[in-house]
């Protein structure tokens, strides 16, 4: 997968037929077509192994008829668009105040150590990325982590590892 991503950097990107249809729908959904940029970036990210590559932006610029620079501007402003490749499981550990009061930072350190990764790095098998992130609005159930689109709350190191290992087995197969 790492190879595919490198290829992607230089290569062309194209959405699936459903993805193209989605873009056309979004372009006419809002009062102004620029509002479609965020939803379409999400779509590209989904179809591009979890990140928005330069090729994705170029492609969107062409089919949306919006300058590349503007799409870049939007993509770079928001943290949820990954501008670098991420693992298939993107583990985001909240380190903001309520989680910090309940061991969130220690949890992030523990996971980085356990899986021998620096924060933000992709594991060699392309499976994992661990990021330290800001408040995710799950403060009453701290500490917590988000993996892809799901929240996992009231964690301790053992529980977090167990969740990651199970997902890794599931996604790896």
């Amino acid at each position: 997968m790492a190879e595919a991503n490198i290829q992607n950097k230089n290569n062309l990107f194209q959405l699936s037929p459903e993805g193209k249809e989605f873009v056309q729908g979004e372009l006419s959904r809002y009062e102004n077509k620029y509002s479609a940029i965020i939803p379409c970036l999400y779509r590209c990210q989904k179809e591009n192994q979890g990140w928005v590559s330069p090729a994705c932006i170029r492609y969107l610029s062409q089919i949306m008829e919006i300058p590349e620079a503007h799409i870049w501007e939007v993509a770079k402003f928001y943290t949820m668009f990954n501008k670098e490749p991420v693992g298939r499981l993107h583990i985001q550990v909240c380190c903001n105040i309520s989680c910090a009061l309940n061991g969130g930072r220690e949890l992030a350190d523990h996971l980085c150590q356990t899986y021998s990764l620096n924060a933000g790095e992709v594991s060699s098998d392309g499976m994992l990325t661990i990021s330290r992130v800001e408040c995710l609005g799950s403060c009453g159930t701290a500490p917590m982590m988000q993996i892809n689109e799901s929240y996992h709350e009231n964690l301790n190191p053992e529980k977090a590892e167990q969740i990651i290992n199970e997902l890794r087995a599931k996604y790896g197969s």
Binding site: Y42, F77, Y78, I97, S98, E134, G137, S138, C139
Partner: protein
Amino acid sequence: MEVKLLTEHYHRPEYRKLSGYKLYGGYQVLAKALQMEPKTIIEEVKASGLRGRGGAGFPTGMKWGFLPSNHEPRYLLCNADEGEPGTFKDRLMMEKAPHQLIEGMIISAYAIGSQKSYIYVRGEYFDSIRILREALAEAYKAGLLGKKILGSNFSHDMDVYSGAGAYICGEETGMISSLEGLKGQPKLKPPFPALQGYLKKPTIVNNVETLAAVVPIVRDGAKVYRQNGTEKSPGTKLFSVSGNVVRPGNYEVPLGLPLKELIFGICGGLKPGRKLKAVIPGGSSAPVLTAEEALRAHLDYESLAQMGTMLGSGAVIVIDDSHCMVDLLGVIAHFYHHESCGQCTPCREGTGWIDKILHSILSGQGRLQDIHLLERVSEHMMGKTICALSDAAAMPVLSFVNKFREEFEFYVREGRSKVRGVSHAQM
């Protein structure tokens, strides 16, 4: 004591669906509202004294009153970009009772004469977004949205829009920029959104909890709504309690409740053997209260303002004596630096400086004059920028340093935390 005006049925799983919501009176208030004059609804909301539940606490009816009185198209935006650290109440409301929000929004839209609304939800709330989309589909199918709602002459369309991870989009003009497909940078006011908002059209931006509260206000009338809360802060409010309490969570209580009762009564107090050290009463940007102050604080807009802090979004962050205030301020400062949109120099540079100075203190490299520098930088960030993020970043710094100065001085002098005994570098 909890008073569940909005949250009464949240424990019922069926409440999330249209059929379940209807079992408990759902959409009956909308039917009633559509028989009323829009003006009457606005007057009722004004009379209720409802204030914005997102953080600023601005009177809702007054905000609606700023709209021009012509028939120009206007938009209603629901601010569901819940991002103030410590806040998780809107997520609960959207996940447990999406139709309550939708009903409140249709009534509000009818009152202000809006044909189109958006719910702008923070991108990480995938579940909330999915649940709201399902609820909207149900509402359209049942004729509660779209053309001629419930056989009336009122038509309204509603859509959900997902943000993409930017705290600043919780600021209303930042949210408007984001919805317009731009970077989510705030715009200079005036013109206020009520006159020139989304696509330069009149726009009202209200928080999730504010819009949901319109339902009981229209149902029971302002007088009944005012039976809870204080004279100037009427009604109930959801508080998100987090940090070092036994039972963290969301609790709906009448405004004016003693903070002590929330922490030690409802939330079961602190963990055994721990003492209360400090409380941040309204999200991480609210100035911190010492334990002594917290014990005499009341949860309403006025009394917290009198104590030099704010009710904010209602995020109560409880800190026990095992935590180092220098360390915690480091966490907060890092956040605001990360989230500054970069538009205004005092904020972009100031948040960066604060983050760097604290980092240096926390790694044992601090100098005594750094504490003074923190204060000076913060003072120069207040009231000098387009939006309130700069102030939000400066207020915690000033209050932490001012109220826990001794801990900061110890850290600088000894190169380690007074509480933990070591510095970040030694950990």
